[in-house]
């Protein structure tokens, strides 16, 4: 694996650039001065529902099983072109994953910061559904 190919696996952003980035750091981290500051919020309820990742649901197991089986079949369906096929599949997946889950149209969102950019909304919905990890300790309210 050379440097060039590993670069495709790194998403680099100089600043937090979408709601997903910002939610976690602004709602769970940052300076809190309890004695002096009144936290006065509306609209947070939806964001703080405890959705932390739990790999213990039947749905998740079945999805994993299906994925393993599917990847298995892909890998064995064409013995002759096996390495090529697998590599190609991997790259396509990498691209899809990177765009969908990691980048989320980062630059586009950055330009539209605060304007409710389309690409950003999708990413945000994803993130809210999939839950935020360390922020769900019940100290946000």
């Amino acid at each position: 694996m050379n440097r060039e190919s590993s670069a495709g696996y790194i998403t680099r952003a100089p600043r937090s650039s979408g709601l997903a980035d910002v939610l976690e750091i602004l709602l769970d981290r940052g300076l809190v001065i309890d004695a002096f500051v009144r936290v006065s919020l509306v609209g947070i309820e939806l964001l703080t529902i405890d959705l932390r990742v739990v790999i213990a649901s039947v749905d998740t197991y079945l999805r994993f099983a299906e994925a393993v089986n599917r990847l298995d079949l892909q890998q064995t369906s064409d013995a002759k072109g096996l390495p090529d096929l697998f590599e190609k599949g991997g790259e396509e997946m990498a691209e899809k994953e990177t765009k969908g889950a990691m980048e989320g149209g980062m630059d586009a969102i950055k330009e539209k910061m605060g304007l409710g950019g389309r690409g950003g909304d999708e990413e945000d919905d994803d993130k809210e559904r999939s839950g935020r990890g360390s922020r769900s300790r019940g100290n946000n309210r």
Partner: protein, 234 residues
Amino acid sequence: MSRFYLYGVTRPREVPKRLETKGISLIAAGDRAAVVSDLDEGPVEATRRNLLAHADVVEQLHEDAVVLPARFGHVLESREELLELLGLPEIGRLLERHAATCELTLKGKYEESVLAEVGAELQPLRAAYRAGPSVEAGIALGEAVGQGLAARRARDESLVLDALRGLVLDVVVGEPAGELAAFDLAVLVERGGVESVEAEVEELAARLSPPLHFKLVGPLPPYSFVRLSAPAVV
């Protein structure tokens, strides 16, 4: 009576024009200053726009000076409250600690092919599922995959932490969120140390990608390293 929304605490300085036109101002006391905007009655709405605006203000100011970013939603009811806050000894301590630091967040996420790698060691369960893809066989296989993935996640998180340890001042280990999430780290570095972390992440990607994708964000204000009283994050 004026009410203030608190973005963070910094050293007295000029507010960039771009922020000034948005109503951001500094209220200084000695060598400390609160970054605020005037606020009408009523609660702060946690809208996308407001959250991004808060981040924009503290991140812009952090570009050339120390900023202790406040958590979203902090409201001070009077100027006196604000000055009292600025006078806290902890504020002075944090301003000194973070004089030349920044935070980088590093998240890892697997692409789906990790499931094939994990599943490769589960031949009997895979065969059973393919022979008869019942719910029971699916759960048995999926549960084993989930355990394999958890082990993989723990391994990769330690690898990354070990690789970064010598380069950073402090680390906050968050809980990765999402079925294929691998790790969620915040590291505190000297402003001059960003490049060495970038280089190390490239080394890590060369070792661990695919299936691991990295997302490195920053330099940010030290969001995860300004706790006063609450216990350290996980």
